[in-house]
């Protein structure tokens, strides 16, 4: 049970600003995901919360208590990393017991056995308890590391890309498992990833980080439908949102005769953004040449050349299109975005 708060956290490594003025409020029991590319500062944020890195400015509060000056062990947080860092010579059971046998927190033998039994049931690793950890598959090892974090009943779970080293199928199933675990534990999770699918599917809320700046915080639906700028727009959704540079004339024309009232002088450079699933093939719209069709079974991803621009559209598998065909490309006017070309700021939402 913990409420995490960061106030004006600032961190630099030499001349590089890793985090600039991070303000974040994670209510108790929330699954919060920090999404960003390599070097965006997400792991640093996590380490600051864990107490492994000290910020140069700002405060870290856990349950309203200022823990900025506290060491990692005093904060009672659990960290799960991408590398499993299990003890290879120990069995799964010994690995799980390890944090409970620490001299810092004495736990009675019976209580240890009980907690381990409960955790192994939750994570479905009961049949592995007496195996050495170097005899486990990647998914099993990651379950054990999560188990080792859970047995301690920490206040906060911090996870740094725990699924990234696993293969696609396993990642998909562990994603659901982890979310399920968080829901049943009801604990606060701070989860760091570069994978937008993980962020969207697991997070109650997502924070998008870009070069040490927290660009947007919101629910997955919010981030997807109302990105504050072009960076966030490209960070979620696959294939990524199509961004086409253009110029504002008399408001922005949405292609169906509707215009978007925009402040500012005509001739201002803008970027027109539309997601692949909001494009439709056929109907009235701009002319485009199909350059590639990928059939993914559930839908088709079509790559098109529209004038100088390459755009991608996802369409139902039932839509018949072929490479080299000329088509008309329309879009859903309610779902298009207009960004300022200079700042990238979303002018519409």
């Amino acid at each position: 049970m913990a409420h995490i708060e960061l106030r004006g956290v600032f961190k630099r490594f030499g001349s590089v600003t890793a985090l600039s003025d991070i303000n974040l409020d994670i209510p108790d029991g929330q699954f919060f995901v920090l999404l960003g590319e390599t070097g965006a500062g997400k792991t640093t944020t996590l380490r600051v919360v864990a107490g492994l890195d000290k910020p140069q400015g700002g405060q870290v509060l856990i349950d309203g208590q200022d823990v900025t000056g506290w060491g990692a062990a005093e904060r009672d947080v659990a960290l799960v990393l991408q590398q499993y860092s299990l003890y290879p010579r120990y069995t799964v059971r010994q690995n799980l017991e390890f944090p409970l046998k620490s001299p810092m927190r004495r736990v009675a033998a019976a209580a240890i056995a009980e907690r381990i039994a409960k955790v192994s049931r939750t994570l479905r690793i009961e049949h592995l308890m007496d195996r050495k950890t170097d005899r486990l598959s990647g998914g099993e090892m990651q379950r054990v590391s999560i188990g080792r974090a859970i047995v301690r009943n920490p206040k906060v779970f911090l996870m740094d890309e725990p699924l990234s080293a696993l293969d696609a199928k396993l990642r998909e199933s562990l994603r659901a498992e982890l979310k399920d675990l968080q829901m049943s534990l009801g604990e606060t999770f701070l989860f760091v990833t570069h994978d937008q699918v993980e962020a969207m599917s697991m997070g109650d809320r997502i924070g998008v980080l870009n070069r040490g700046v927290l660009v947007q915080v919101g629910t997955p639906a919010d981030i997807y439908a109302r990105p504050v700028n072009t960076f966030v727009a490209r960070a979620v959704g696959a294939p990524a949102m199509n961004l086409l540079p253009g110029r504002q004339e008399d408001g922005a024309d949405l292609g169906d005769g509707r215009t978007l009232p925009l402040a500012g002088e005509a001739g201002r450079a803008v970027i027109f953004g539309v997601r692949p699933e909001d494009l439709e093939i056929g109907g009235a719209g701009i002319e485009a040449r199909v350059t590639d069709v990928e059939n993914h079974g559930v839908e088709k991803i079509v790559t098109l050349q529209a004038g100088p621009h390459r755009v991608r559209a996802t369409v139902p598998v039932t839509v018949q299109v072929r490479a080299a065909e000329m088509v008309r490309l329309g879009w859903n006017p309610a779902r298009v975005h207009v960004f300022d070309a200079e700042t990238g700021r979303n002018l519409r939402f």
């Binding site: 293969d167 696609a168 199928k169 998909e172 994603r175 659901a176 979310k179 399920d180 829901m183 570069h194 994978d195 699918v197 969207m200 599917s201 697991m202 629910t219 997955p220 639906a221 997807y224 439908a225 979620v236 959704g237 696959a238 294939p239 990524a240 997601r275 692949p276 699933e277 350059t291 590639d292 990928e294 059939n295 993914h296 079974g297 559930v298 991803i301 790559t303 996802t314 598998v317 490479a323």
Partner: protein, 360 residues
């Protein structure tokens, strides 16, 4: 004309039968993808075609001629590895020129060939750089370029974009396909990533434990998988599979009401009682109110992916995943009603996993 043919190919590593009686014909100019998990024998098969592995028995034909006893360089095929395997001390130009210098091509001809291929791959501006100054995507372009300059009979690629990040992989996918369309060389491509396979292949070869499970177009493999392995390997989220019983003309998931299907489908099931029922997430229809012909369920975890949601549904004792439009179900715990699209229902033998071929 480069047709590649495998006839009864077998190979063992010790007691492991890594290639188990494989028969396959790859047509001229075709793009074939070997798809399977690590250890399924896909890379070994590819290496056997290239001559990097010997085979125990069978025949490998390239362009109609048996090559299984020829050395790799005599087979005239190009191989692209996941680890780019470029010479770090040579420039991009020299890396690409290397195979041509090895066969003592005239300098002028080398120059024009490398530049033409570099143009196709859009790396003409990088020719003077060394590999250390290139991004992952460019490194792989150079590696592919080095394979192309020789104008080989066939291209063999072993997870060439497996080590790139997700966005770049998506871009390179489109580029590889464009390249194949332009060059038209017969290509065999190995991957464990079903998305790559679906996107690139003219035909997919699904392998498991050294055995070809299914060979077909992406559409066939997705819509008509021959067994449970193929059904659950292709597609994401994976196809739902539950053990069901057939009672009173209905397909019953333990602990839930029976799913009803048209008689045309049910009669095909004949006297079968116990079987596995497969349904893809997008083939489940959901309703928020009790509806005739729908079965009660409860929404559990909701994964909002932006363009659509994936919902875990508790149906009796089973957990099914459905793909629905964004925001269709408000929150976990909501009661919903579901129906399976009869046209996209699959039935498998519980013991062997083979598809019963029962389709509407």
């Amino acid at each position: 004309m480069t047709q590649i043919e495998l006839r009864n190919v077998n190979k063992h590593f010790g007691s492991v039968h890594v290639i188990n009686n494989v028969n396959l014909t790859v047509a001229d100019r075709e793009f074939v993808v070997f798809l399977g998990q690590s250890g399924c024998g896909k890379t070994t098969t590819l290496r056997a075609i290239a001559g990097l592995e010997t085979i125990d028995s069978g025949e490998i034909l390239i362009g109609g001629a048996p090559v299984q006893n020829l050395r790799p360089e005599a087979r005239d095929v190009a191989f692209v590895f996941q680890s780019f395997a470029l010479y770090p001390h040579l420039t991009v130009f020299e890396n690409m020129a290397f195979p041509l210098r090895a066969v003592r091509m005239a300098t002028g001809e080398i120059d024009s060939t490398v530049r033409r291929v570099a143009g196709v791959l859009q790396i003409g501006n990088l020719l003077k750089r060394r590999p250390s100054a290139l991004s992952g995507g460019d490194l792989q372009r150079v590696a592919i370029g080095r394979a192309l300059v020789r104008n080989p009979k066939a291209m063999l690629m072993d997870e060439p974009i497996g080590s790139l990040d997700a966005k770049l992989r998506e871009e390179m996918r489109v580029e590889l396909k464009r390249l194949h369309v332009e060059q038209g060389s017969t290509t065999i491509y190995v991957t464990h990533d079903q998305i790559e396979a679906m996107a690139l292949a003219d035909r997919i070869v699904v392998m498991h434990a050294g055995v070809l499970q299914q060979v077909g177009t992406p559409e066939q493999v997705y819509a008509d998988p021959v067994n449970l392995f193929v059904a659950q390997f292709v597609g994401s989220p994976v196809m739902n599979v539950v053990d069901v019983t057939v009672q009173d003309g209905r397909v019953v998931i333990p602990g839930a009401e029976g799913l009803s299907f048209p008689p045309a489908l049910m009669t095909q099931l004949g006297g079968k009682r116990e079987l596995s029922f497969g349904i893809r997430p997008e083939a489940l229809d959901l309703a928020l109110t009790p509806t005739e012909g729908f079965v009660a369920a409860e929404a559990h975890i909701i994964e909002p992916l932006g363009s659509h949601d994936i919902i875990d549904l508790r149906v009796g004792q089973a957990l099914l995943r459905a793909r629905v439009r964004s925001g269709f179900v408000a929150k976990a715990g909501t009661p919903v009603w579901l129906r399976a699209d009869a046209g996209r229902a699959h039935f498998f033998d519980r013991a062997t996993g083979a598809s019963l071929g029962v389709r509407l």
